[in-house]
Chain length 169, copies 2
Amino acid sequence: MLKYAMLGLLAERDGHGWDLQARFEALLAGTWPLNNGQVYATLKRLENNDLVTSHVVEQDDRPDRNVFSITAAGREELENWLTAPPPPSAILKDEFFLKVLLSSIASEAELPDLLRTHRQHYYDTLATITRRRLADDLNSTTKLLLDGAIRRLEADLQWLDDVELSSRL
Amino acid sequence: MLKYAMLGLLAERDGHGWDLQARFEALLAGTWPLNNGQVYATLKRLENNDLVTSHVVEQDDRPDRNVFSITAAGREELENWLTAPPPPSAILKDEFFLKVLLSSIASEAELPDLLRTHRQHYYDTLATITRRRLADDLNSTTKLLLDGAIRRLEADLQWLDDVELSSRL
DNA sequence: ACAGCCATGTAACTTGTTACATGATTTT
DNA sequence: AAAATCATGTAACAAGTTACATGGCTGT
């Protein structure tokens, strides 16, 4: 997926690896930290596939930059991905769902523990995100993202209640 | 993740590759189809790590089965995973969120198209899942899963409205 | 002096994805 | 005769994860 993230950021404007990583993390409000190695590896693959090109920009007081630009083929790849509907399998391919499911069938004794841990964790995350949402240096897109995350967290918390109720029957 | 799914199914009872795949797909109500190759590859890796063991069961009229059992180490690995809270990065690591985000910054002209396509797709999926939820041959765990999926889909649909509203300003 | 920022990457390992390959039995 | 079910796997490739490695400049 990072591949498309890089293409998207480059479609906005050119950038070098370090810069792209910083922009990505800012856009995601720090909720999706990256290892720099992954960024450089992804950019190299994109270049091998001619979806981006690069040129070196020399600097005196800083290390030289390797600045990337998106190509026409890269733009096309990005558009295709953006407009394609998600595969039908995507909705339930979720670690949280899978944990509850497996706990129910394989390890029922652990279910209450799992539910407690996760409920706690979801409340904490909800609090963190709600707090972050209030910061005034966020761009509007990031705000939207956080709103979406809040809606999902609330949905998941309600579902946790469902699961707990039905496990107590 | 499939690794843990296999461990979970084996914790319920022993099984061979084919059987595990069928049980997995039934549990997920067919929403997460697998390629058999992935199943066998995953089982082999688990065996290499001594998380499962296998023995051949001969059959006359059918190909022989390679039946797997979970080991003590496998059980431990499963328990650890089940009780561990999700990493904080997991909530927003989502293809749908990323698409909306990137479309907003990189390709604003495509946003309405993306929103329309995805809204349609989400409604369709909601309808499909709701219908499947009514089938009476589902086990209670699968029903729960579908309930969770419905809650999420509804949350995402509401969020799509948010995004559309804010994009029209 | 030390921490933090700027900037680059490689290497090893684990997962996931897709395609290919084989072959018997049962049902339509 | 064809399609579905049962049953096994290999191989190639793409992507994600983590650790390692280097080095100058800036602010405290």
